[in-house]
């Protein structure tokens, strides 16, 4: 599904924010990515959702070596990835409904085909009555739920979520986690970056920890 080998990354001419990162994410896996603020979690996810390129190392995804993949084939790869951005990145002039429907619209699907799915999903994340609201009029937690709905609506092969529960109360957090687990059960590979220890421990799945730009596997507790 996803393989990085000795990957380094820097912004412009700056210092390396990731160095010698090696990881493999198997199809159907569910992982957490933790680490202190500034450790490079968002930067690693940016590499994975193809918003940045590694400055060195090998990276392959969906069985393709990215260094050998022509640019015009990248959008098709990106459409197989659902992303919950840390800062949401909703389009302010579109309604919550339109924002969630965006990936489907980009994939060329007809509104009539997806309307019910989108409405159902919005209801599921508790926004059934806020579908026509624009992001500037939504609370932080509501925006986050729209962002999550947008990331999962197209049932991506890979879901990358950056602090998806940062602005949400624990009950809603649990509900959204169930959404991720459900999606994972249907075959989506999931990687969630978070500070939320409670979230990580509640699932007991494997965890990578980033610190100072390098990645370590955290030994799992309670397993023999």
């Amino acid at each position: 599904m996803l393989h990085l080998e000795n990957v380094g990354m820097r912004y412009g001419m700056g210092r390396e924010v990731l160095s010698d990162v090696t990881l493999t994410l198997a199809p159907g896996e569910f992982r957490f990515l933790t680490g202190p603020s500034g450790a490079g979690k968002t930067s690693l996810l940016k590499l994975l959702y193809l918003a940045e390129r590694p400055s060195r190392g090998l990276m392959s995804m969906f069985g393709r070596d990215l260094a050998l993949t022509p640019r015009q084939e990248l959008p098709a790869l990106r459409r197989r990835i659902g992303v919950v951005f840390q800062e949401f990145r909703l389009l302010d002039h579109l309604s919550a409904y339109e924002n969630v429907a965006l990936p489907l619209r980009i994939a060329g699907r007809k509104p009539a085909e997806y309307r019910e799915d989108v409405e159902e999903l919005l209801s599921w994340v508790g926004l059934g009555d806020r579908m026509q609201a624009r992001p500037p009029t939504l609370s932080g937690g509501e925006k986050q739920r729209v962002a999550i709905a947008r990331a999962v609506v197209a049932k991506p092969d890979l879901l990358l979520a950056d602090e998806p529960t940062g602005s949400i109360d624990p009950d809603m957090g649990e509900r959204l986690l169930r959404l991720f687990v459900e999606l994972n059960r249907l075959g989506t590979t999931v990687l969630i970056a978070t500070h939320d220890r409670h979230l990580v421990e509640s699932l007991g799945v494997r965890e990578w920890r980033l610190s100072g730009g390098s990645l370590h596997e955290v030994p799992q507790k309670g397993r023999s």
Binding site: Y49, R89, L102
Partner: protein, 292 residues
């Protein structure tokens, strides 16, 4: 739910000034083209009028009186094929023609040459050399003028005006391209977040460019139509005003639009929107192409 919202928010502030600038360019382009078309048609009409006529000048320095010479020349010319009319310009008429230059003085007794106006019909007209020989034989010293010098001058002038208009049109088109490149860049910059999000969630470059194209196509059509309307107004005003106080259509043909000019003028706003669309597309594709 109503039609899907456009992926780029509507913009009202910047859009108006851009529409205005493009409309002005389109106005200038239409005006230039309209004037060029009218001038070239007028000069064709005038030149054709000139080519159907000629003038014989019988000087007053011969042995016979110029009046007798003129009569002899006229008789000789009348017998030729392809002649529509031969008319001796009377002394009163030629005095009238000179008066604007000489003022209100008495012209009696001045040894003025006598003019004979000749007009042709059909294609069987005598060649210039033949005319020259016949005229000189009928009255020694008489000269044949086929108006060729005038006609050449007129054609040169008309060709120069056409070249200038073409140059102006090219400059306007280039300015329009530059304006739209700037506007598209500014639009991309102000919608950078939207463009980036679309890019990151897998929109193809053409998909994003299409949003901008559609906007600039509409803008080009709107501005183009506005410019065309203004230009047509001015051209019609131009055609229906007697600018020559002397009523001098004898010297200058009237400048006016013909039915055959309309397709050209309507092509201007269409070309404008095409330029706007293609420029916007190329600019967007280049900018997005640089994203990782």
């Amino acid at each position: 739910m109503a039609a899907r919202a456009p992926l780029l928010p509507d913009e009202h502030e910047g859009e108006w000034s851009l529409t205005g600038v493009i409309a002005v360019m389109c106005f200038l382009a239409c005006l230039t083209l309209g004037i060029a078309l009218a001038v070239s048609r007028a000069s064709a009409v005038w030149s054709e009028g000139l080519s159907g006529t000629g003038t014989i000048l019988v000087p007053a320095d011969g042995l016979v009186s110029p009046e007798d010479g003129a009569r002899a020349v006229a008789d000789a010319v009348r017998r030729l094929p392809g002649i529509a009319e031969v008319r001796i310009v009377s002394r009163a008429e030629s005095d009238d023609m000179l008066r604007p230059w000489l003022g209100n003085v008495s012209l009696d007794g001045l040894p003025l040459p006598v003019l004979v106006a000749v007009s042709f019909e059909g294609s069987a007209r005598p060649a210039n050399a033949e005319m020259e020989a016949i005229v000189a034989a009928a009255s020694p010293g008489a000269l044949w003028d086929d108006h060729g010098v005038w006609r050449e001058d007129l054609q040169r002038l008309s060709a120069m005006l056409s070249a200038i208009s073409l140059g102006v049109l090219v400059l306007i088109a280039l300015a329009a391209v530059a304006t739209i490149v700037f506007a598209t860049r500014a639009g991309l910059e102000s919608h950078r977040e939207i463009v980036e999000v679309l890019h990151h969630i897998g929109a193809r470059n053409q998909f994003i460019a299409h949003e901008f194209e559609r906007r600039f196509l509409l803008l080009g059509l709107k501005a183009g139509a506005l410019g065309l309307l203004l230009a047509v107004g001015v051209l019609l005003l131009f055609a229906n005003t007697d600018m020559l106080a002397s009523g001098g259509e004898f010297y200058l043909p009237r400048l006016s639009l013909a039915a055959s000019d309309w397709p050209w003028l309507v092509a201007v706003p269409l070309a404008t929107s095409l330029i706007a669309t293609v420029t916007a597309r190329l600019t967007v594709m280049r900018v997005i192409g640089r994203m990782p």
